[in-house]
């Protein structure tokens, strides 16, 4: 792969990936100290996909995420504050505390939010693309889904529809080798989900999802293809979640050796090494960067915990229907 980031791009990607990593680590610690409630799905290890997807799009392009949505949400432009507040269930959160970890939505940044029903976001994204196309917009929609989701019928139906209707959808499979505990090799009938493109006459490819430059390049190319042909595209990114599936996961379904092998391919470390090599950065800059982000995150959270703002039940009712009269107590 010949494509490389210039220094500014590399810095931006590194900053984003570190921000996401530290955001999720903070979330993890808030959960394990029982300050946060509910459940959460961390994507630690998958930051190259986050930093490679949204930044390679136009600002006006839309994304539709999944239950594992933190990284993509930040990468698409959400503020750390609004994101954290959502985890706390506060009214200044992205969804005013109504959605929580699995439902980060950020319409201002053209992030339509997620479906926590695995795979069900894909038809929504397809429909968004249909209306954008009707309005002769140049925007595309990224439908994110996992290797587990690839088995859902809704994904098949959507790909077929996007193909026969020529819709500007980037089907982006974030293949991290596992569903919850289920290993893709036992659950998915093909080695590469991207090979299913043929079944829908959809162009496709697979890239190393731990290499942010590769992901970025592949998404840029796919976006260009979609915009110039009006057709959908299927991109598979191969990556690995270092974290457990959700907060309670003991990871009994995989070996520590496998984890260690993947940890050697930590996407942040990979980018950092390249940047060191290209002298875009030195060890001290890197350390500093991490400290600054950590500091910002800690401040946000400390300040937030001290100022809880929560919707009243009446306010929550106002979001059930558009006209208030139908919200009933």
């Amino acid at each position: 792969m010949d494509f490389t980031f210039n220094s500014a791009q590399a810095h931006a990607a590194l900053t984003l990936m570190l921000t996401i990593r530290l955001f999720e680590s903070k979330i993890e610690s808030l959960f394990s100290s029982h300050i946060m409630h509910g459940t959460t799905h961390l994507a630690i290890g998958q930051e190259a996909v986050h930093a490679g997807v949204s930044p390679a799009l136009d600002r006006e392009d839309w994304i539709v995420t999944t239950h594992r949505c933190h990284g993509h949400t930040l990468a698409k432009g959400a503020s750390l504050k609004a994101a954290f507040a959502e985890f706390f269930g506060y009214s200044d959160g992205l969804a005013h505390g109504l959605g929580g970890s699995m439902h980060l939505v950020d319409v201002e940044h053209h992030n339509a939010g997620s479906s926590a029903v695995v795979g069900s976001g894909v038809p929504l994204a397809t429909g968004m693309a249909l209306q954008l196309k009707r309005k002769k917009s140049n925007q595309l929609v990224v439908a994110l889904f996992g290797d587990g989701a690839s088995s859902r019928g809704a994904v098949h139906e959507s790909m077929n529809i996007a193909s026969v209707m020529s819709l500007p959808v980037l089907f982006l499979c974030e293949h991290n080798m596992y569903g919850m505990s289920a290993c893709a090799k036992d659950m998915v009938s093909v080695e590469y989900i991207s090979d299913r493109g043929n079944a829908y006459a959809i162009e496709s490819t697979v890239v190393d999802g731990n290499d942010v430059e590769q992901v970025y390049k592949a998404v840029s190319d796919a976006a260009h293809y979609i915009r110039s042909t009006g057709k959908p595209y299927l991109l598979e990114t191969r990556t690995y979640r270092f974290s457990g599936h959700s907060k309670s996961d003991k990871r009994v379904y995989r070996t520590r050796e496998e984890e260690v092998a993947w940890l050697k391919r930590d996407p942040i470390e990979m980018l950092k090494q390249r940047m060191l090599q290209r002298t875009y950065i030195d060890e001290k800059d890197f350390e500093k960067l991490g400290q600054n982000i950590q500091c910002e995150i800690d401040n946000i959270v400390d300040e937030m915990i001290d100022h809880p703002r929560q919707l009243s039940i009446e306010e929550a009712f106002s979001y059930v229907y558009s006209s208030k009269e139908h919200g009933q107590l």
């Binding site: 539709v64 969804a95 005013h96 109504l98 959605g99 439902h103 939505v105 319409v107 339509a112 939010g113 479906s115 029903v117 069900s120 894909v122 038809p123 929504l124 994204a125 397809t126 429909g127 968004m128 693309a129 249909l130 209306q131 954008l132 009707r134 309005k135 019928g153 809704a154 139906e157 959507s158 077929n160 529809i161 026969v164 209707m165 106002s318 979001y319 059930v320 229907y321 558009s322 006209s323 139908h326 009933q328």
Partner: protein
């Protein structure tokens, strides 16, 4: 006024709304040159083209999911699903997505979707093509549910449904050929308002959809027995016009709830609970509240069995008569 069938009334509503707003788009299977399974959309593709009439593969789940997504981006999709029975396939996009998008985005996204599908029996199409599955959706906050009976109501409510900013399920009975008079000029009917189809003093027959006609016929027969039956067509299931129901029952002191769906677990239970949950209406009740609904059986193909399942004029008349002849 002009005479028009249920089919034509729906088509007129579609036509007017599609002409008014190019973002009103029909989506569904075989609704182009074929005119849809029940010929409701015949002629629309010729007039509005593929920009507003979108034919899809047999993919109910994705069709409705696609419509939800498109609605989030400003389309006003009207999805037609051939038979209400296939609402099972559409229940994830409807229940888990359409009903919740506005809430989950704290009001930043909305889903002005209309989901049209025919329900009910009478066509000899057996167990997988004749269910009345409205109860699958009535317990879902975030959805509105409309189930009109007459050409007038079908047209006025469909036009309102299209303009509604929230997802509306629009259920149709299959008596598409039934005719009635409607105004020449444009009109809307507010979602959430019932209609007294026949005034009466002694008993309230509360119903919706096809059985409105059954109830009307029963009311006519009851007149011969000098029982004055009021027929209340709720028209909208969610939100229900509880005021109208309570008024009627407080007046008559007797209530019979009728629908095609099986009795057990059906929407009649909600109507009964609405009545007896109200102190005034409960106090006014002279006898227990009765339900005359479908029998507890998948619809058989055999014609006489299919007929036997449905709430008949006779069953309604018998039930009402019994309310007057026996003691509480």
């Amino acid at each position: 006024m002009k005479k028009i069938s249920c089919r034509e009334a729906i088509r007129e509503a579609l036509f007017e709304e599609m002409a008014r707003d190019q973002d009103v788009v029909l989506i569904g299977e075989d609704l182009g040159c074929y005119g849809g399974c029940f010929q409701v959309t015949a002629g629309l593709i010729e007039r509005f083209g593929t920009h507003q009439v979108i034919e899809t593969p047999v993919s109910e789940e994705a069709i409705v999911g696609v419509a939800v997504g498109a609605a989030m981006m400003g389309m006003r999709p009207i999805v037609e699903i051939m038979y209400g029975d296939f609402s099972t396939l559409a229940s994830d996009p409807l229940i888990n997505h359409a009903a919740k998008m506005r809430f989950l985005s704290a009001g930043k996204l909305s889903v002005p979707l209309v989901y049209r599908t025919p329900m009910g029996s009478g066509t000899g199409a057996a167990a997988q093509h004749t269910q009345s599955l409205e109860s699958v959706f009535t317990n879902i906050p975030g959805l509105k549910i409309v189930y009109p009976s007459t050409p007038y109501d079908l047209k006025g409510l469909l036009k309102s449904a299209v303009r509604d900013p929230d997802p509306v399920l629009f259920f149709e009975h299959k008596l598409y050929g039934v005719e009635d008079l409607i105004p020449e000029e444009e009109y809307l009917i507010e979602i959430g308002k019932g209609d007294i189809k026949r005034q009466g003093a002694d008993v309230s027959i509360i119903t919706y959809g096809k059985t409105v006609f059954t109830a009307m016929e029963a009311a006519r027969l009851l007149e011969a027995d000098e029982i004055s039956a009021e027929v209340l067509d709720v028209r909208t299931l969610r939100p229900l016009d509880t005021d109208l129901i309570l008024q009627s029952v407080s007046k008559t002191g007797r209530a019979v709830v009728v629908h095609e769906a099986p009795t057990f677990g059906g929407f009649a239970g909600e109507i009964v609970a609405t009545i007896v949950g109200d102190r005034r209406a409960f106090g006014a009740l002279k006898v227990s509240v009765e339900r005359v609904c479908g029998l507890e059986m998948p619809t058989p193909f055999n014609k006489h069995l299919e007929l036997a399942l449905q709430p008949s004029v006779e069953r309604i008349v018998d039930t009402v008569t019994h309310m007057f002849t026996s003691s509480v």
